[in-house]
C-alpha cells in the first residue's frame, strides 16, 4: 500500500544550535625544515623539528620547539657536507580559521641558534686545501607565517620563517688562527612542513 504524506509547511524560525567540534587546546607537531642558516656558507640545511603548543586565548597559542639537522652541499649532489644546525625556540602564534579545514598561522618566536660548518678551502698555492671551521651562536627572533589544513585531530602544517639575529657571535678557525665576528640581521630562512596532532 502506498502512502503519501503531505506536509504543508515546516516552520523552523528558531535558530538550531549545532554541537560543533571541541576546540583543541594542545598540539604536538613533527616537521622537516628546509632552508639555509649561518654559519653554513656553502650549503642548505635540512632539520628535523618537534614543537608543541598550548592554547592561551581563542586566537593565541603559546608554543615551544627544538630543531636539529645537517647541511647539504649547495652545488653537486646535495649530500651532507659537514654542517650542523640546532635551534631551541619558544613564542606565540595566532591561529585564525576558515571553518575547520584551513587555518592561517602567524607568530614569532625567540630562540637560540647554534651552527657549525667545516670546509676545505682550496687555492692556487694550497692545492691540498686548508680546513676552515666556523661556529655560530645567536639569539634570534623568528617571525613565521603559514597555514594548517586537515581534520579535528590530524593536521598538515606548512610555514615559512626568517631567523633574525638580535645578538650573534661567530668564530672562524683557519690554519689554527681564530677570528671572531658578530652581526645582526637575517641569518637564516626556513620552510617547515610537518604533521600536527591536536586535542
Amino acid at each position: 500500500m502506498n502512502r503519501v504524506a503531505f506536509i504543508a509547511a515546516s516552520l523552523l524560525a528558531v535558530p538550531v544550535g549545532r554541537a560543533g567540534p571541541v576546540e583543541p587546546e594542545k598540539y604536538v607537531a613533527v616537521s622537516m625544515m628546509f632552508g639555509a642558516a649561518e654559519p653554513v656558507y656553502n650549503g642548505y640545511n635540512v632539520m628535523a623539528a618537534v614543537d608543541g603548543g598550548y592554547r592561551i586565548t581563542e586566537l593565541l597559542w603559546a608554543r615551544a620547539g627544538v630543531g636539529y639537522g645537517t647541511s647539504i652541499d649547495r652545488f653537486g649532489q646535495h649530500v651532507p657536507n659537514g654542517g650542523r644546525n640546532e635551534l631551541v625556540r619558544g613564542g606565540v602564534e595566532a591561529r585564525w580559521c576558515a571553518g575547520t579545514i584551513l587555518c592561517g598561522i602567524a607568530g614569532a618566536d625567540l630562540g637560540l641558534q647554534h651552527g657549525s660548518f667545516t670546509d676545505r678551502l682550496y687555492s692556487a698555492t694550497v692545492i691540498d686545501g686548508v680546513v676552515e671551521s666556523t661556529t655560530d651562536n645567536a639569539f634570534v627572533v623568528i617571525p613565521r607565517i603559514g597555514f594548517d589544513v586537515g581534520g579535528d585531530r590530524i593536521r598538515a602544517r606548512i610555514a615559512i620563517e626568517a631567523e633574525t639575529a638580535l645578538v650573534e657571535h661567530g668564530t672562524t678557525t683557519t690554519n689554527m688562527v681564530t677570528t671572531t665576528q658578530s652581526q645582526t640581521g637575517v641569518i637564516g630562512v626556513e620552510l617547515a612542513a610537518g604533521v600536527a596532532f591536536q586535542w
Partner: protein, 192 residues
C-alpha cells in the same frame, strides 16, 4: 504490501537563521569564503615579502638563494590561492587569477629590464637610475597583482551568496516515521 511510502514535502520554510546555523553540504558560507580568501592571500604575500627581504638582506648567498625561491614561489602560488574562497563557492574561474597572472608577467618584464637593460646606466658617471618604463612596469605589475588579490578577497562572499541563491530550490532525500516503519522520501526545500 509495498512498504515504500512516498513522502512529498510541499514546502519547507527554512528561515535564514537556520541556514546559517547548520548549512547544508551544498551551501556556501560567505564568512568562510572570505576567511579562505584572506588566508589564501596572506600566505603568498608574506612569502613574497619575507623572501624579498631575505633575498636582499640575507647574511650568506645560500640564505639569499632560499629567500629568492620563497619570493618567486610565493608569487606563483599566489596566482591561485587567493581564489580558494571562490573555489569554495564553486566559482572556478575568477577574474582575479587572470589579473595576478598578468601582473606577474608585467612584473617579470620590469624586473628583467631593471636587472639587465637598465643596469648599464649604473656604469656611467653620476647616480644610477631606472627608466620610467621600468619603474612603470614594476609598479604596474605589483598593482595588477595586488588588485587581483583584493578582487578575489572582496568577491569571495558574493560568490558564496551567488551560489546559495542559485541553489535555493533543493530536492533532498529524507525519511519519515510511519505507523509501521520508517519510509524514505524526498523533500523539496525552499530558502528565502
Amino acid at each position: 504490501m509495498v512498504k515504500l511510502a512516498l513522502a512529498l514535502v510541499l514546502v519547507s520554510l527554512v528561515s535564514g537563521s537556520v541556514a546559517r546555523a547548520e548549512p547544508t553540504t551544498d551551501s556556501a558560507d560567505p564568512d568562510t569564503a572570505l576567511r579562505l580568501s584572506i588566508i589564501g592571500s596572506a600566505f603568498p604575500i608574506a612569502a613574497i615579502g619575507i623572501g624579498t627581504l631575505v633575498g636582499i638582506e640575507g647574511a650568506r648567498a645560500p640564505i639569499r638563494d632560499v629567500g629568492t625561491v620563497f619570493a618567486v614561489g610565493g608569487a606563483l602560488i599566489g596566482i591561485v590561492t587567493p581564489a580558494i574562497g571562490d573555489f569554495y563557492a564553486r566559482r572556478w574561474l575568477s577574474p582575479g587569477i587572470a589579473m595576478r597572472a598578468g601582473g606577474l608577467i608585467v612584473e617579470y618584464i620590469g624586473l628583467v629590464k631593471a636587472f639587465s637593460n637598465d643596469i648599464g646606466d649604473c656604469a656611467d658617471p653620476g647616480p644610477c637610475h631606472r627608466s620610467a618604463a621600468t619603474i612603470g612596469l614594476i609598479a604596474g605589475g605589483a598593482a595588477l597583482y595586488l588588485g587581483g588579490v583584493v578582487l578575489d578577497v572582496v568577491g569571495a562572499p558574493a560568490a558564496a551568496r551567488e551560489w546559495n541563491a542559485r541553489h535555493d530550490v533543493q530536492l533532498v532525500p529524507t525519511a519519515f516515521k510511519t505507523q509501521s516503519s520508517t519510509a524514505p522520501g524526498l523533500a523539496l526545500a525552499l530558502k528565502f
